[in-house]
């Protein structure tokens, strides 16, 4: 009955009216200078002309088209959509943090460097490794850094033919993509039927060309590889670097340290485990922690604490001796680091350690309550997330994982990750995180059961879902076939 107010969707350039302004102009307070040669200047600048009030309403309305962790339960597997404490945003917004310039002399940014140094130390401690660089700007860039370190390590030892990197079939897409950007050949390794590494296949795969193994722990199937020590032993003995994708660190905090297990390098998506808000696709930060073997290769900068000649301590940006180089123009996503630091300090030892318990209980609770309604590909204790499947539902009622996911939207719940890991048919990867209450989980469980019933009784309801969003399902094929990627003036 509500009439769709179409002009909420109108684009800025279509809203433009010549002469309108969206901000105020500071007058020039110095004498006018000679202009540049006119040939260098542009003639027109066809940018929006919209008033401030209209911009505010446009973006405010648009924002409400989103689901978000602040408004919706968001059990998006592998993404750790936990509550992002508001105080962290305020800390990152302090003028003494947000307004400092990356090229300031070090003596004028000692507070910033101290914060980074402390966070480096915490991350090394949490992961049980030796050194940290906070330069990478997301998990994938951390992976790239890690794999470039592996490459540099082997080359440094003259091992030029270590070109193969093993990656489980369940791995996140960034793993093979990063390995490949780092110059490696990717060899895909199957998982066995309980979601662990297939030991046979592993043994068969390791050899002279082995550069390393990229492993997510717990795996993207939400399980902890019970062979982990053996896996690591095999890889290390074969001369490979053991890379840990730390996207799932939420399950391990205070339970086990990857470094203690024998990992050489781990990245942490600070925006997952350490609560940088996801921002509709970033920014994040990708800390990379290494053990002794890779220490000299860390990307720059790292912050070091040094004493000057008078014994006065100060912090300084340093380049590790054999650094693989810079990952960005400056020193990493500092704003995200302030948030991660704030988060770790707020929770402290007690709080950080408690995260994994609640995260894992919550996931196992969902698993225990939904395993009769959905397929459970791996019927074992899960860690912080659980993978269900709509395989039988699809076979019996023609309702697939996508339909279930979209129907959840009608109930105000964000869909889980779908069709990932690729190895599970009709996968629904559900990660509740520790910040959700039992009541919210019960609500979700109830809705999932209702949907399972609806799938039998009224599958159309699921095929048509979602129903009350600003758009129903969108034609992705058409988008890719005839890419319309930007505003253009309308034909008339």
């Amino acid at each position: 009955m509500t009439i769709t107010n179409d002009h909420r969707r109108e684009l800025l350039m279509d809203r433009s009216v010549p002469g309108r302004v969206g901000s105020s102009f500071t007058p020039l307070d110095v004498p006018v200078q000679a202009p540049p040669p006119s040939g260098m200047l542009r003639n027109d600048l066809d940018m929006p002309e919209v008033s401030e009030a209209e911009i505010v309403r446009y973006f405010s309305q648009m924002s409400q088209f989103n689901f978000s962790i602040d408004h919706n339960f968001y059990p998006l597997g592998s993404c750790t959509m936990k509550y992002n404490p508001k105080v962290n945003d305020e800390m990152a917004g302090l003028p003494g943090m947000s307004e400092i310039h990356p090229n300031q002399p070090e003596e004028t940014v000692q507070g910033a460097l101290k914060l980074v140094h402390r966070l480096q130390t915490y991350m090394a401690e949490i992961t049980g490794l030796t050194g940290t660089s906070l330069a990478p700007m997301a998990g994938a860039e951390g992976e790239l850094a890690g794999m470039l370190m592996a490459r540099a390590y082997h080359l440094d030892r003259g091992d030029a033919n270590r070109t193969q990197v093993l990656i489980p079939d369940s791995a996140h897409g960034t793993n093979p993509a990063s390995a490949s950007m780092a110059g490696f050949d990717v060899v895909t390794l199957p998982s066995n039927s309980s979601g662990n590494t297939d030991m046979e296949a592993l043994r068969a795969a390791v050899g002279e060309n082995l550069a390393g193994f990229m492993l997510t722990l717990p795996s993207t199937l939400g399980v902890f590889d019970t062979n982990i020590l053996e896996v690591i032993r095999i890889v290390r003995e074969a001369g490979g670097i053991v890379y840990g994708d730390g996207a799932n660190l939420n399950a391990l905090l205070g339970r086990v340290r990857p470094g203690d297990l024998g990992f050489d390098v781990v990245h942490s998506n600070l925006h997952k485990t350490f609560t940088q808000p996801h921002g509709g696709g970033g920014p994040g930060a990708g800390a990379v922690m290494v053990g002794p073997r890779l220490l000299p290769y860390l990307p720059e900068p790292v912050v070091e604490r040094v004493s000057d000649s008078n014994g006065v301590e100060r912090y300084t940006l340093a380049k590790p001796p054999k650094s693989i180089g810079k990952m960005g123009a400056f020193h990493g996503n500092f704003g995200a680091l302030v948030r991660a630091y704030s988060y770790i300090r707020s929770l402290g030892k007690e709080g950080v350690t408690a995260i994994s318990e609640d995260a894992v209980i919550n996931a196992n609770y969902i698993q225990s309550q939904l395993k009769d309604d959905y397929d459970l590909p791996y019927d074992r204790t899960c860690m912080h997330e659980v993978v269900l499947s709509a395989k039988s539902m699809k076979r019996d009622h023609g309702v697939d994982a996508l339909d279930v996911a979209k129907r959840l939207i009608d109930y105000g719940i964000h869909p889980p990750t779908m069709y990932f890991p690729l190895t599970v048919e009709e996968a629904l990867l559900i990660e509740p995180t520790e910040t959700e209450s039992r009541e919210t989980l019960d609500h979700f469980i109830g809705v999932m059961k209702t949907i399972a019933r609806e799938a039998q009784e009224n599958p159309e309801l699921l095929h048509d879902a979602p129903h009350d969003t600003p758009n129903t399902r969108l034609d992705e094929a058409r988008a890719a076939r005839k890419p319309d990627l930007r505003w253009r003036p309308s034909a008339e």
Partner: protein, 443 residues
């Protein structure tokens, strides 16, 4: 006083909740849930500090912030890749809306039209500003945009050499080197009086303005690049495009830029947003997220992530890039900024920068011992040759509550790179000139 056993305000469940859930799960204790972890390594004691209350945390972080010298309290003339501009309040307020801030990457378009439409706007405005056909939804920062542009050029041309004009910033160059070390591309430097391109040169990379503020003859460079079949890759300062020619007019193939200058606070170097635009014909080689317009089942227009077969989650080791989480919120901020400044404001800000920088240069040039060794035309940055070590001058300027320009004495003898934007008032500029002449050549 009650005892204050630590309870996290972020995790709701209580011991009673846990007990009830463990019962439902069918285990006696939470310990059982972690039995897959090797027992001897389980439950390490972490050497982390104790929890802080919000009040204590604020004290702690504010104390560190206070150890930083904050521009705003100081006149600051730093640029060189990160620029201080006035950011209207609406940029913060709108980007701070939790619907934008706490949403994930818009994989579920029906519940992410806010983010998607905003990113389509971003792509559109980047195209309007650069004149290019298409743009993606942003890269980590301007440097990784440029590095990915080099990779893309190599992919597209199937050539293996990357020519980089010698005016490109050292930091950008370093990042290109990081990204290209493994694919085995050969990076080499050329100078504008000797543009040496081979038939294996994938692209010529030019930064405009150059690191030291230089403005190149872009038409000429573009022609030279294209003559050998190389792509012309331009790293443009987006703010300069408020007044200077857009790269499309000199036939750039790929245009990248540091979007920080468009409404993002310096934040000690990040998060920023890398702009990435190119000609239509190269879109399937682009890295990064791209939003496309389409229709829904009811025929209404809407937006989706598109051309995803380029990306890691589909194409895995054959993806155009490994990028996943990018900088969505920063792209949104710069979209609001571009919208707020708009046609008139962007030109106005660019012109303020231009006139203030030139005014500063004209004052400094008159100070005995100081000279401008490089430029005729520049935008908002210029090199000053100082009578003494610029690091020493900068130390002295701090006493005047001035953060001086960047020390570029490794590139120009006693060189200091000075930047003025619209936030540098006349008073600040004259104070700088006054302080420099006071410091003079004296030791």
């Amino acid at each position: 006083m009650e005892s204050t056993k630590f309870t996290s305000p972020y995790s709701p469940n209580t011991d009673a909740d846990r007990r009830a859930m463990l019962d439902s799960i069918g285990v006696d204790s939470v310990v059982e849930l972690f039995e897959d972890i090797p027992a001897h390594l389980r439950n390490p004691v972490l050497d982390l500090p104790s929890p802080l209350s919000e009040f204590e945390l604020r004290h702690d972080v504010e104390a560190m912030a206070a150890e930083n010298t904050t521009p705003g309290d100081y006149a600051c003339f730093l640029g060189a890749g990160s620029y201080r501009h006035y950011v209207p309040a609406i940029v913060r307020q709108l980007a701070g809306r939790s619907e934008f801030m706490t949403a994930y990457t818009p994989y579920q378009p029906e519940v992410a039209q806010g983010t998607l439409q905003a990113h389509y706007e971003f792509q559109s405005l980047v195209c309007q500003l650069t004149g290019m056909d298409v743009a993606n939804a942003g890269m980590y920062d301007g440097s990784t945009s440029l590095a990915e542009a080099a990779l893309m050029a190599a992919r597209t041309t199937k050539r293996s050499q990357i020519a980089v004009l010698d005016t490109v910033s050292p930091a950008l160059l370093r990042v290109i080197e990081t990204y290209t070390q493994a694919p085995g591309l050969d990076i080499y430097s050329v100078s504008s009086d000797n543009i040496d391109l081979s038939d294996d040169t994938a692209c010529l990379i030019v930064q405009q303005p150059g690191f030291l503020g230089q403005m190149e003859d872009m038409e000429a460079l573009s022609t030279q690049a294209h003559a050998t079949g190389a792509l012309f890759v331009v790293s443009a300062d987006p703010m300069s495009l408020g007044m200077f020619k857009p790269p499309a007019e000199y036939d750039a193939d790929i245009v990248v830029g540091e979007g920080q200058t468009l409404g993002i606070p310096p934040t000690y170097g990040g998060p920023y947003v890398g702009l990435f635009a190119c000609k239509q014909k190269y879109i399937r080689q682009m890295p990064g997220r791209i939003v496309g317009k389409t229709v829904d089942t009811q025929g209404r227009e809407g937006y989706v992530l598109t051309l995803q077969t380029r990306e890691q989650h589909i194409r895995r080791e054959r993806a155009t890039s490994n990028i996943c989480t990018s900088v969505g919120l920063i792209a949104l901020m710069s979209t609001v900024y571009m919208a707020a400044q708009g046609r008139r404001g962007l030109r106005h800000v660019a012109e303020l920068c231009y006139h203030k920088a030139h005014y500063a240069a004209s004052l400094i040039e008159q100070i005995p011992g100081y000279s401008l060794p490089l430029q005729d035309t520049f935008f908002r940055e210029f090199v000053v040759q100082c009578p003494i070590d610029p690091a020493e001058i900068n130390r002295r300027l701090l006493e005047h509550k001035i953060i001086g320009g960047l020390d570029v004495s490794d590139q120009v003898l006693n060189g200091m790179l000075i930047c003025c934007t619209e936030v540098n008032t006349r008073e600040e500029i004259e104070k700088l000139a006054g302080a420099l002449s006071e410091i003079g050549g004296a030791k």
